[in-house]
């Protein structure tokens, strides 16, 4: 209680101090030497192993999950992630085929622990009239309705507040205690985190907040929630406060720009609507090194309308409206919802402000709300308890629109996505967090395909012939997430890329490089290059430079595929064919698998739903991975 009061006072003091000089330079929020010294590892710090994990899992402690029927809590979540068999919310035996290396339980800070508290009729919660209302709905077996109601209230900020600080304190300490118990350095890492759930008017601005530190530090604060402020700048102030108070480190990961009504990457102050300034850019740059580019509720790399030349842009697009189906999406919103467009805009903003606010790496995660982080199409435990395997789940409505049934978020739109791949020096909190902070990470749509990239000026491509090439080249370039120094006369950047398939999964179709740059007129451009692909003898690039489709071995009806097409590994050496040393640019790698059946195809086959399920649905997809970019800055 006392700690909480202190934290809030501190934040409010900062907040008020800042709002009075919002555009003034030299706020106390700039990165400080002490804090940033920790993170700058050498370029060869990344080790030889990509760790796979989920940074975004909800358990029964998340109020929406708890109300919607999630019974499994923290312990089950960790045990499942570590590969143990648990009994699912619907009473089925559930296990991953392969354990995760790490997990961030990111329960919603707002009303953390609500469902259990309501089930216990905790008097603290029943002091709120909404608490009473939900309590009654829950006890009448109307958990789902209670969940919809809460989602709607969340769009109105603190109207949804039921919990209080003493209740929160207990739940938070329980959360950190269990994380501590399951954290097993070297084998399995339980990073401590939570979700800040801001969605003004339904525009999804959610951030997962991830701490580098252990319980002793993290227990000194309580999660800063949407009830404290729905303004992301206040969240950053809180994060800054945490770092100053404890000497710890913390980062935030936005997700689902696709459901944000064009606000996630809108370069405007949330509160005033004024264009962002250098302070904003510095804060965002510092505290948000990553974006969750893919998860169950859609993929946010780019949209076909934003990237009409990119034939693979339409992957897992979920964008009819914002969160809760409150406001339909219109084309003018799209440039502010997707990561590629934001990475481009970042170059422009850096030109204007001196700092790039959208300089982020890419990961994937599940956002599962059932305590079961799973992403395999043939072993998908769903996004919520109602989406656990059953013959009915394909008909489920995850989030009902309060306005218009056509804006419902339905099961048919969901993907069994995604995972975070982290090139860390070891499987520990600090090593993983540092790698995330330096953006040496990639996101996948759920597959465990691995991709590595280095960029530099001295590479020839021969390096890739050595089995231990990464170790040899790291000193001469930068890994994903890094910055290329300004090119001197005649230097042209090149990329060394290697991808290998998920050892239990599908072969690879191709490696691509996505380049974005700021041209001489101050406009941003993008281009996608095919770099390496399977069967190069048969698949010759067409006149437009694009490599023909890999084809498909999928039998949708039987939900099968074979690795008779594609390649188990691909390597690529790519030298920018249109490099202009005076222009800002970024390069990231996208790797595509061959087509494979989706969870819908497996359900249709396993439950024999041929007569019920629609003739056409996304039964096939090309799973993929996205690396963090490497940036080029001429100055």
């Amino acid at each position: 209680m006392r700690i909480r009061a202190l934290a809030l006072t501190g934040v409010m003091a900062l907040a008020s101090g800042l709002s009075s000089c919002a555009s003034g330079p030299g706020t106390p929020l700039e990165s400080k030497g002490a804090a940033s010294a920790v993170i700058e590892d050498s370029q060869c710090a990344s080790g030889n192993r990509a760790y796979f994990g989920d940074t975004h899992l909800h358990t029964a402690l998340s109020p929406d999950a708890g109300l919607a029927g999630t019974k499994l809590g923290l312990e089950e979540a960790y045990r499942f992630a570590k590969g143990e068999t648990v009994t699912s919310n619907s009473g089925q035996k559930a296990a991953l085929k392969r354990p995760l290396d790490f997990l961030v339980v990111a329960d919603h800070a707002e009303n953390l622990g609500l469902a259990q508290g309501l089930a216990d009729s905790d008097p603290e919660l029943l002091k709120s009239s909404l608490g009473q209302q939900l309590n009654e709905m829950l006890k009448a077996g109307q958990g789902r309705e209670a969940f919809y109601l809460l989602v709607q209230k969340m769009a109105k900020g603190s109207e949804a507040k039921i919990s209080n600080e003493s209740f929160m304190q207990n739940v938070w300490k329980y959360n950190t205690e269990v994380a501590e118990r399951f954290n097993d350095p070297g084998k399995f890492t339980a990073l401590i985190g939570y979700e800040w759930t801001s969605q003004p008017g339904g525009g999804n601005l959610h951030r997962v907040v991830v701490f580098r530190d252990n319980k002793a530090l993290v227990d000194q604060i309580l999660p800063f929630s949407n009830f404290d402020s729905e303004n992301v700048e206040d969240l950053w102030r809180f994060m800054n406060f945490y770092e100053e108070k404890t000497g710890g480190r913390v980062l935030a990961i936005p997700h689902n720009g696709n459901l944000s009504s064009g606000t996630m990457f809108l370069p405007r102050h949330q509160k005033t609507g004024e264009p962002i300034d250098a302070d904003y850019a510095r804060m965002r740059h510092r505290f948000e090194p990553l974006v969750e580019v893919t998860q169950a509720k859609g993929t946010g790399e780019t949209h076909p309308m934003l990237s009409p030349e990119d034939e693979f842009a339409g992957f897992n697009i979920v964008d009819n409206s914002n969160l809760g189906g409150i406001k339909p999406t219109t084309p003018d919103m799209l440039p502010y919802e997707y990561t590629r467009a934001a990475l481009r805009r970042g170059l422009q903003l850096e030109q204007q402000l001196g700092v790039n606010p959208f300089k982020f790496g890419l990961i994937g995660s599940t956002d599962s709300h059932s305590s079961l982080p799973s992403t395999a199409e043939d072993n998908w435990w769903g996004k919520s308890p109602a989406l656990e395997p059953s013959p009915e789940r394909w008909k489920d409505v995850l989030i009902k629109s309060s306005k218009d049934p056509s804006l419902d978020l339905t099961a048919l739109q969901l993907g069994a996505s995604g995972l975070a791949g982290v090139w860390a020096s070891g499987n520990t909190r600090t090593a993983l967090w540092d790698a995330m902070n330096r953006k040496e990470v990639f996101g996948t749509s759920g597959t465990r395909l691995t991709v590595r990239v280095y960029g530099g000026y001295d590479y020839t491509g021969d390096e890739l012939k050595a089995a231990d090439w990464a170790k040899r080249v790291c000193a001469k370039g930068v890994p994903m997430g890094g910055d290329l120094m300004a090119a001197s006369e005649g230097q042209i950047p090149s990329l060394l890329i290697q991808a290998r398939k998920d050892p239990d999964g599908a072969n690879l179709d191709r490696i691509q490089v996505v380049k974005g740059w700021l041209d001489a007129d101050g406009e941003t451009q993008e281009q996608v290059f095919d770099v390496s692909w399977s069967d190069p003898g048969q698949r010759k690039p067409r006149a437009d430079g694009k490599v023909p489709s890999v084809g498909s071995s999928v039998n949708e009806r039987e939900a099968t595929y074979t690795n008779t097409i594609g390649a188990p590994t691909l390597t690529g050496y790519w030298k920018d064919p249109a490099f202009d040393p005076t222009q800002k640019a970024f390069y990231y790698v996208r790797v595509l698998e061959i087509p494979t059946p989706t969870w819908l195809a497996y359900d249709r086959k396993n439950y024999n739903l041929y007569d019920e399920m629609p003739e056409t649905a996304p039964y096939t997809s090309q799973e993929r991975a996205y690396t963090s970019p490497i940036w080029y800055n001429p100055s």
Partner: protein
């Protein structure tokens, strides 16, 4: 309406919101007076109860209550007691879903609490450990070296190359570094020391890991296949998985033992109670 919906409708009871109950209570003061029980009109807050209230308060707020707060705690307690007694006298506790569910929870909690408090003996835990080797055995560990050969690079040459390379490797100094030989495979190290089986499954896939287990030790052999291509391997040791001593896995065994006991106990507690009843169900 699906089968489960119909069932839900059947078992669902009408919900009377608290507010309506409350309004009813205040409006029916006269009726209440008439119906209130004659005896048992004394409400006593004992010292023990008071201490418990103070302790609960202190746990939540990290300080003892003030005089005023203490009075409010007493007032709340008395108020609740009065309403509960009057509500029960009116029979409001019957046919109320919330109350029924709460009572069921309490009974389940009681059954939970009835478990023997004595922790299991080491013998019991040891027996549980031995009964479930699949849950507690350590993983086999592998020490080996490998050289990758990429079929897409070598095509038909691969088997010839492999044979030649095996000979070359076996002739070379055993300590020679094979990491510069063969084809690149992202992050697949040449040397692995005491690596867990699960890690090999994650890195090379099932085929390779299973094959590795079958290879002779101490010399280069192969090729064996993986998800990625072919590998020459030299296994130096394989430590089989074994049942660890109880002390190393005590926490997990205890948790698992408790889970099993709880489940068994909960079920048998219910079965014992159920045995006192005869149950008739409608025919669907």
């Amino acid at each position: 309406m699906g089968w489960s919906d119909r069932l839900r409708t059947l078992v669902q009871e009408p919900i009377v919101p608290f507010l309506i109950i409350g309004a009813g209570l205040f409006g029916l003061q006269g009726v209440l007076d008439a119906m209130a029980p004659k005896g048992d009109r004394e409400i006593v807050v004992s010292n023990d109860q008071a201490v418990a209230m103070v302790q609960t308060f202190a746990r939540t707020w990290q300080r003892p209550p003030s005089q005023q707060e203490l009075e409010r705690l007493f007032d709340e307690h008395v108020r609740t007691e009065v309403f509960v007694r009057e509500a029960m006298a009116l029979g409001l506790d019957r046919n109320d879903t919330i109350v029924r569910r709460r009572l069921r929870q309490k009974m389940e909690f009681v059954s939970h609490g009835e478990q023997p408090l004595t922790p299991p003996s080491d013998q019991q835990l040891q027996a549980h450990l031995e009964a479930h080797p699949e849950r507690f055995s350590s993983e086999p560990r592998f020490s080996f070296q490998q050289v990758f050969l990429d079929p897409s690079r070598r095509g038909e040459r691969l088997n010839r190359d492999a044979e030649a390379l095996v000979v070359e490797l076996n002739q070379a100094d055993a300590a020679a570094d094979p990491s510069s030989l063969g084809d690149p495979l992202a992050m697949a190290s040449a040397s692995w020391q005491g690596e867990r089986r699960s890690e090999l499954l994650a890195q090379f896939g099932t085929t390779f890991t299973d094959a590795l287990q079958q290879q002779p030790q101490g010399r280069w052999v192969g090729p064996i296949s993986s998800a990625y291509g072919m590998h020459l391997v030299r296994v130096s040791s394989i430590t089989p998985g074994e049942l660890p001593p109880l002390d190393q896995v005590r926490e997990g065994v205890l948790r698992d033992w408790q889970d099993v006991q709880r489940q068994n106990h909960k079920e048998s507690y219910y079965r014992n109670l159920l045995a006192r009843y005869s149950v008739r169900l409608p025919q669907f």
